[in-house]
């Protein structure tokens, strides 16, 4: 009994120690949003409070941060929605339906291959493709590119989640008279919600934080948050305060979602769990 509770104490302190390791630096980074640069670079923990970084970020002529947030949201939401729907549909078909082996191999093999290559090496080609059809700098270009960039991960994730459904459930639906499409929309789609939430979260985060693609494919009107934040890491002046302020604003939606919607997410994961 004593040994057990001692173990629990140790386990607990490891967990909370790790939580502190996450929380400490994060809070420190975010607190920089309210500090003068000189206090940031001298590593001051407590220092005079200022809104100057937010003023620079939101109202200076050089920065268009609200617009950037809006752009990131449009691109993140649209590309994630596309990726998740496409990946879930394809995953269902690849796992449960009779697809010619070469189709399965070609699709998954290519997805893996593409996923392994650094996307930095592609952006030049993408730029050429989009600008030759006049789509460079549009939402469409970035959304589609983010979609294809995140598709392999979403596809493999959804295959593992869809594959975890009991096969008999699919068969029962077939016996009940469902076509493949009906099986998907009425049975699979509602039941992989847990996996979809996880994949959605990851895909959205990848799209939200992508720098390389957004940098090359966006123009001034479609610039996203990471690119905007990166403009504060200048050659001769890293403006930590503005970066922190930008980070704080950019993670606000996710933060609120995590804090308020946390229970919802976990319950969503639970609801998706098939007993």
């Amino acid at each position: 009994m004593t040994r057990r509770s001692l173990g629990a104490v140790v386990a607990n302190s490891i967990v909370w120690g790790y939580a502190f390791l996450i929380l400490g630096p994060t809070l420190w980074v975010l607190s920089n949003a309210f500090k003068y640069k000189i206090d940031i670079i001298t590593g001051a923990t407590f220092s005079p409070f200022t809104w100057i970084n937010f003023q620079e970020l939101l109202f200076s002529r050089q920065s268009d941060f609200l617009m950037n947030l809006f752009n990131s949201a449009v691109i993140g939401v649209a590309s994630t929605a596309i990726v998740i729907v496409i990946a879930t549909m394809a995953a269902f078909t690849l796992v449960y339906l009779e697809v010619k082996p070469w189709v399965r191999w070609a699709l998954l093999g290519w997805a893996l291959l593409f996923h392994m290559l650094p996307n930095l090496t592609f952006v030049g080609s993408w730029y050429l493709m989009y600008s030759s059809v006049g789509l460079h700098g549009t939402y469409f270009a970035v959304i589609m590119t983010h979609a294809v960039q995140n598709l392999p991960m979403a596809l493999f994730l959804m295959i593992s989640f869809v594959g975890a459904l009991p096969r008999e459930l699919i068969q029962a639906a077939r016996m009940d008279g469902c076509t493949y499409a009906q099986v998907f929309w009425r049975i699979v789609f509602p039941l992989v919600r847990g996996g979809m939430i996880a994949a959605t979260a990851l895909t959205f985060i990848f799209s939200w934080s992508d720098f390389a693609i957004a940098l090359t494919l966006t123009s001034r009107d479609t610039m996203t948050v990471p690119v905007a934040i990166a403009t504060f890491a200048q050659e001769y002046d890293i403006r930590y305060g503005e970066m922190a302020a930008g980070t704080l604003l950019s993670i606000m939606p996710a933060l609120v979602l995590i804090l308020i919607g946390q229970n919802f997410i976990v319950r969503g994961l639970l609801a998706g769990a098939v007993k």
Binding site: I41, A147, Y180
Partner: protein
């Protein structure tokens, strides 16, 4: 009547298979076929820009022979990357899995708080992670040394000491990407059968046994897929290295993707950079195929034994 109905259904089903795979296939073909083929092709060329136009000269395998005979930095990067992948990914897997277990068994309030906290790092843009950790790990004024100073240690030159720099970069990567593992593991754990876990609690003595003999095997599919992602992504590591150390000091933190970036972009040697990409790609593919074969052979042997 029924036969007619069946035919309609069969047609609809065939249409579904096409409809469900077409968007993914189209995206891949339209957006990745050209870049990848372009990349493969480029690796046999030397490209110069003159008079506003690219001049491609076919150099055969020159880029590859140069990579294998005259290159130092890239191979230092390969070595670092392997260390990086092994250490960072193992830490992430262990930490992510343990924390997911901890959250799964924590009470509802602790669970909400912990999930929220654990997910924080991945919602911070990588560019900020790199910049800020460079500040935190700064020798002179960094938070890390300030904290160490409180207990009378340090200062440590986290990023400037060649023997320590890679470990520091790995630490930041673990800090940044453990939530990725955590989230997938939590999703996986949540989808485990509650009854089986219940039974496991009775059949096994102690928590460790339960994890080792029941939870781990049941989580294998999720673990394998997560591991695959992390290994691949760890070979694609770039942002952190770029912003923390730019590969230095010396070649202490050089990684493959950073070499490719430098060659491709900073030096604008697209042919040589493409060759690096191709070699990397083939190596990883080979490793995955070998690993797969190994796993399959082990599975087959176990089956034969059973």
């Amino acid at each position: 009547m029924a036969a007619h109905h069946t035919e309609i259904k069969a047609r609809r089903n065939r249409r579904w298979i096409i409809f469900s795979l077409l968007p993914a296939a189209t995206l891949f073909i339209v957006l990745t076929a050209f870049p990848v083929i372009n990349l493969l092709g480029l690796s046999f060329f030397h490209v110069e820009w003159r008079e506003g136009a690219a001049q491609f000269s076919l150099v055969g395998l020159d880029n590859f022979t140069r990579l294998f005979t005259q290159e130092d930095i890239f191979w230092a990067g390969v070595r670092n990357n392997i260390i990086f992948a092994v250490v960072a990914v193992s830490c992430q897997m262990v930490l992510g899995f343990s924390m997911a277990l901890a959250v799964k068994t924590a009470g509802s309030r602790g669970r909400a708080a912990l999930t929220g906290i654990f997910l924080l790092p991945i919602i911070v843009p990588p560019i900020v992670i790199g910049t800020m950790w460079r500040l935190i790990m700064g020798r002179e004024f960094g938070l890390a040394n300030t904290v160490l100073g409180l207990v009378g240690l340090g200062p440590v030159d986290w990023l400037g000491n060649p023997d320590l720099a890679l470990a520091s970069v790995i630490f930041v990567d673990v800090w940044h990407w453990t939530p990725f593992v955590f989230l997938l593991m939590l999703a996986g754990l949540e989808s485990l059968d509650g009854e089986v876990l219940e039974a496991a609690r009775i059949d096994t003595s102690g928590r460790w046994q339960q994890i080792r003999h029941v939870v781990l095997p049941m989580m294998m599919p999720t673990i394998v897929i997560t591991l695959l992602f992390r290994v691949i992504l760890s070979f694609k590591v770039f942002d952190e290295v770029y912003l923390l150390t730019s590969g230095g000091p010396g070649t202490a933190t050089e990684v493959v993707n950073f070499s490719i970036y430098r060659t491709f972009f900073r030096q604008d040697q697209v042919g040589y950079g493409a060759a690096m990409s191709v070699v990397t790609l083939f190596s990883i593919t080979l490793v995955i195929i070998l690993a797969r074969a190994f796993v399959q052979r082990r599975a087959a042997r176990r089956q034969a034994a059973a």
